[in-house]
Amino acid sequence: MLRLDRLTYRQGDFQLGADWAAPAGSRIAVMGPSGAGKSTFLSLIAGFLKPTGGKILWQGQDLAALPPGNRPLTILFQDQNLFPHLTVAQNLGLGLRPDLRLTKADQARIARALDRVGLAGLDARRPAQLSGGQASRAALARALLRARPILLLDEPFAALGPALRDEMLALVRDVVDDTGALVLMVTHDPDDALALGGMMAFVSEGIVLPPVPTADLFADPTPEVQAYLRRK
């Protein structure tokens, strides 16, 4: 269970709050207007930002004292998900051991993860030698390897075309089916939110509202959601 206990964050005039819980395995799309604080919300959970107040709890444990790398989560950013000077295999290996002292078993796991996302045989390539879709797959393969119970997606497929994005979302669904991870995915696209197939937390006026089923929200949208969808 991910619990956001009266979580608040303030910086200057900007403020953000959340007070809800989501069970393990939930798939939650995070939507809202630009500048509403969607990425800030994910940064708070990931540990890049320190909350002004409240707690973030996973299975009852307060995450405040844990640095980002030790939190029970993996995050995929909009870009820069791979280190360009390392090979695909090394990029994945960092997800297992930050010192890259990989055992044979680790290497076998990396090969299996690459195979799982359709990148078998590309382990020696550098990110610059991959297409956008392949780079996204490699980042997702690392998330698969890390096997953390929370997966944060900060618009990682925004730069891909619609067909490729659908393909990646299907892959995300497959991966979380395997791992049972709780997914929080920031997106601007209502179709992506529907494709994730779960709940939606709408960010409005400085509050990340409790997640509700996405299909229900779109069928009977609140005035804020209506206004947002009209602008899309």
Partner: protein, 514 residues
Amino acid sequence: MASRPRPLSLLAPALAVLLLALVLAPLAAVGWRGAGVSLGPADAAAVRFSIAQALLSALFSTLLAIPVARALARRRFPGRSALITLMGAPFLLPAVVAVLGLLAVFGRSGLLNQVLLALGFPPISIYGLHGVVLAHIFLNLPLATRMILQGWLAIPAERIRLAQSLGFRPAETFRHLEGPMLREVLPGVAMVILVICLTSFAVVLTLGGGPSATTIELAIYQAVRFEFDLARAAGLAGLQLAVGAVAALVAWGLARPAAFGAGLDRRLDLSAPDGWRRWVDVLALTMAALFLILPLAAVLLRGVPGLLDLPAAVLPAAGRSVLVALVSTVLATVAALTLALASSRRTQPLAEAAATLPLATSGLVLGTGLFLLIQPFAPPMRLALPVTILVNVALSLPYLYRILLPETRALQAGYGRLAESLGLQGWSRLRWLILPRLARPLGFGAGIAAALSMGDLGVIALFAGQQQATLPLVVSQLTGAYRIEAAASAALILVTLSFALFWAFDAGGRRAAA
């Protein structure tokens, strides 16, 4: 933005405090010993000469650089890139080598005097104010040219296109595009050169001297080495510090990156006018190239024959110089990287201070302070090399820090969150992220630090006896003894080692980054 504490949060401030102490303790010693010392008319003359030679050097270097930079900005010709590369060389060229080259061309029996004598004119002397200024122009004209050239290249393409569409002639182009750019750039260029010339020592040691051509730095050297009047040396060092700090502060305010209005990031060359203006450009480029190449070629020609018959002091001195340069470079690079990483997310005042303060001082001032601190406990001569290393670290730190800081900031902005999310910390972060991504600027910065350290003639002149002499000191001593051929051979070795060290670090960095 609130964020988590950084892994370097303790190491960097501790290092910054240590580096600040390395600069502030000698300055405090200078202040303590020099307080109340009354300086005589000769010292006042040294202050006047220091400022006068620096002003003239800055003025002429800047003015002469304008036509060269303009010609480079608007002409395309074979060898242009080589000439621009050559313009970078004097920054790495040991000043003693430059002086030797200028002596070979403008000295008593130099090329110019031979031509003058052949034409029946009286010979000219390079010693004194004009010689010092000439050497400073040789060393700083390329720097000024490159800085002004950056200004020309920063004129937005949109404005150049507008000028072309309005049918601007060269005079109007100068009035509306080039003139405003020069008004922005030139004060900063002149001040940077003024600061460099205020702390110049090797040039004045050889071409200056005597009551009418002594700078404060030279007066400090004479007070320590010849009169052993440490109180007077400290008083002079205090004066040098005050003059240097004021100039550095003004330069800091005036030197700014060239940006003259918004424009898209596209390059467009200024149109290159024909007619007599073409010949003006040709003349400017030819004169600049000859001015830079002839002295270096003269050192080469004079030095090669003596390479097999070097004075005994040369090779041991070369070994000491390389050792000092390598140790200084490693220490300075580690220090600069630590401070730059600490400042990569937000400015750290301690790190900034540690990496900026040395700019306001000089090798001779720091050397005097360290001399005062060491002398009660040990013979300073015995510690000549360690002290030289410490001063080299302090003086190269500002350059290295400024080279690395934009790179560490870009690295943090691009990959900081990813590294943190993967738990990439400590040695793993250094091994797998920082060193591979920063290899190129680290190599370049270390190369500059190594070349500067290799060619430095400052603090070593205060401290060293024959057993501790570095190669620049040996070259200077041979030049002072009019053993010009031997000096040229030693200079040739010095310049080769300086450029080899720069190349080795720079190429190593580029290879590691590839």
